[in-house]
Amino acid sequence: MKELSRMPELLSPGHRMCPGCGAPILVRLALRAASEHGGVVAGVATGCLEVSTSIFPYTAWRCSFIHNAFENVAATISGVETAYKALKARGKVEGNFKFVAFGGDGGTYDIGLQALSGALERGHDMVYICYDNEAYMNTGIQRSSSTPFAAHTTTCPVGKVRKGKTEFPKDLTGIVAAHRIPYVAQASISHWNDLYRKLQKAFSVEGPAFLNVLTPCTRGWRFPSDETVEMARLAVETCFWPLYEVEDGRWKVTFKPRQKKPLEEWVKRQGRFRHLLQPENRHLLEQAQAEVDKRWEELLARSE
């Protein structure tokens, strides 16, 4: 921790992310891990992180930064990485660079999935990091395919008939692992040591690496802004958000809670799940718990 704090800060203070946002915690660690190898170019998909850190004529980025559009950060950074290879071979670029793409769950699970899949398949030497806050937070909390079952969002609100999202979240980390790239991991800002080790691995492998990192959103999840890390921790301890990595096709759980907490302990502290505590909606919470249990057991069975 001490060592980390001494490394140069590539995302400067003064940006306009919300107090209590989980994303900058991740971004600052990721840029540190990348800068261990030299220069860094960060690509950022349209979203909270992008709009809050690059308001012209200011920028919070002390490394090179490129924002292109919403769905194409993987393709964009793959172009930057390709240019680096070309210019390096022609002796026009000096020094070493690492390339990292940041996309939210909207830009990664949904609209950017095709570009991500293409870039992973092509084998670019890049790290893609999804900062997953489980909805389109930038535009005011709309449902994404990462939004948990039964959660309230502005496009799947809790009403008289419907009680939040009716589907379970997409297993994006599994989808990425199916690309058989050198390194895939799921991590959380609450477990910074685990996260930093995974970031270091991701930036060390040759070829594409992917991290899916839970970054709670105080506005969208509805919890006090000083409980961000706690919200991430509970997601891990309830096994809603397991920490694991996939290296060369081998799956490994990197954190097993001594005692798996009931999902309710995480759910009850967030406004987006408030309706689940009412007796008439208990069955939804039970369904959500059953799905978490099933996915956790599947992961354990797959893990070495």
Binding site: G38, G39, V41, G43, E50, V51, S54, I55, F56, P57, T59, W61, R62, C63, S64, F65, I66, H67, N68, A69, E71, N72, A74, A75, T76, I77, S78, G79, V80, E81, T82, A83, Y84, K85, A86, L87, A89, R90, K92, V93, E94, G95, F97, Q114, A115, S117, G118, A119, E121, R122
Partner: protein, 391 residues
């Protein structure tokens, strides 16, 4: 020494790209551009270029990757057609606004629906407001020459604007022509080294590309983008003259053919201009005062050149290979009328050749005969006619 070779338009453009030897090419195949991309792939496979060739999963990613590469200081190219160009739409604007000097051959093809793989100009005409420079080619030679010149135009410090080089699908892309292919060294010397003003890969100077603007800066940025494409009015003919001095074929914004003393003038784009030249020559031999103005640069549009060239005539017929739905005429005729604003010259638009519908020499002659009639009557009604359509 330059060499005369039998090449299709696609092959000619692939040769130009090989001789330019860009740092990065990212592309996705689509008919009728596929053969161009395949030929370039052959050059890569045979080591004729050391370009990094990225085989992306869509045109959207092709343009996105090329934007990333250009921002990183690479000379970057792609190529597409029709629906592929439409899929790039969002990023076309971003490439132009970010002032990245990308060069992209576009093999003109009709947009769906109904799906159709043959030529018209609906694809590039739809992109006419995206901020790109658009150069049209009459034949494979021009497609080759334009691709080489496009690099210089795009990268000119006063321009820094991406360039589309268009060639008519199948008519040019798949037609075999004799093309004079220049020496690779001569092309390399003509295009020179690309020296980017800003790059993501300067370790001493990190840079932020693609920031968010609000109402306090957006308008100034858009206004300064206009300066870039306006500077191209000067740079396109400059580069065309230099190309002519070195290689014997000069280029400007427009090309006039038989306009001296002409009473009726035809305005056309692309391969149709070649057919129209033959028709004009034939009618001139018969003593009919007709001529042709070929538009080479559609963006920036050559208003002054056109006003000068058309202003001396008594009637103008325009040939549009696409429709601007709900407008008073096709895209080309709208621009021509705008160029002639204030002059009392009858202008009629002829919409033709959609989805690859053939245009014959006889049909072009009919249009010119009608234009001669317009010159007498001063009557342009109907303002739009559809050529060879069953109604």
């Amino acid at each position: 020494m330059a060499e005369r070779m039998a090449l299709t338009g696609n092959e000619a453009v692939a040769y130009a790209m090989m001789q330019i030897n860009p740092d990065v090419v990212a592309a996705y195949p689509i008919t009728p551009q596929t053969a161009l991309m395949q030929k370039f792939a052959d050059f890569v496979a045979d080591g004729e270029v050391d370009t990094q060739f990225v085989l992306v999963e869509s045109e959207h990613s092709a343009m996105s990757a090329v934007v990333g590469a250009a921002a990183a200081g690479a000379r970057a190219m792609t190529a597409t057609a029709a629906n592929g160009l439409a899929l790039m739409w969002e990023i076309l604007y971003i490439a132009a606004s970010t002032r990245l000097p990308i060069v992209m051959p576009v093999v003109n093809r009709a947009l769906s629906a109904p799906i159709n793989i043959l030529c018209d100009h609906s694809d590039t005409m739809g992109a006419r407001d995206s901020g790109w420079i658009q150069l049209f080619s009459e034949n494979a030679q021009e497609a080759y020459d334009n691709t080489i010149q496009a690099v210089r135009i795009a990268e000119h410090r006063d321009v820094l604007t991406p360039v589309m080089v268009t060639l008519d699908g199948f008519i040019i892309s798949h037609g075999l022509e004799v093309v004079e292919v220049l020496d690779k060294e001569a092309v390399q010397d003509f295009v020179g080294e690309y020296e980017p003003a800003y790059t993501l890969l300067d370790p001493e100077h990190p840079i932020t590309f693609g920031p968010i603007d609000f109402s306090d800066y957006y308008m100034e940025h858009k206004r300064s983008q206009v300066d870039g494409i306006e500077a191209a009015r000067r740079v396109i003919p400059e580069v065309g003259r230099e190309f002519g001095k070195r290689f014997g074929r000069s280029y400007g914004m427009i090309e006039e053919h038989g306009t001296d003393g002409a009473e009726a003038l035809l305005v056309a784009l692309g391969s149709t201009a070649g057919s129209a030249k033959a028709v004009v020559d034939d009618m001139r031999e018969r003593g009919l005062p007709v001529g042709l103005v070929k538009i080479r640069a559609f963006r920036p549009f050559p208003y002054e050149e056109l006003r000068e060239a058309l202003g001396k005539a008594k009637a103008v017929a325009v040939m549009d290979r696409s429709i601007s739905f709900g407008a008073q005429a096709g895209p080309l005729a709208l621009e021509v009328r705008s160029a002639l604003y204030g002059l009392s010259l009858p202008v009629r638009d002829y919409i033709y050749g959609l989805g690859g519908r053939n245009i014959t020499l006889e049909e072009i002659e009919d249009i010119l005969q009608e234009a001669l009639e317009m010159a007498k009557t001063k009557e342009a009604e109907p303002l739009v006619k559809y050529v060879s359509v069953r109604e």
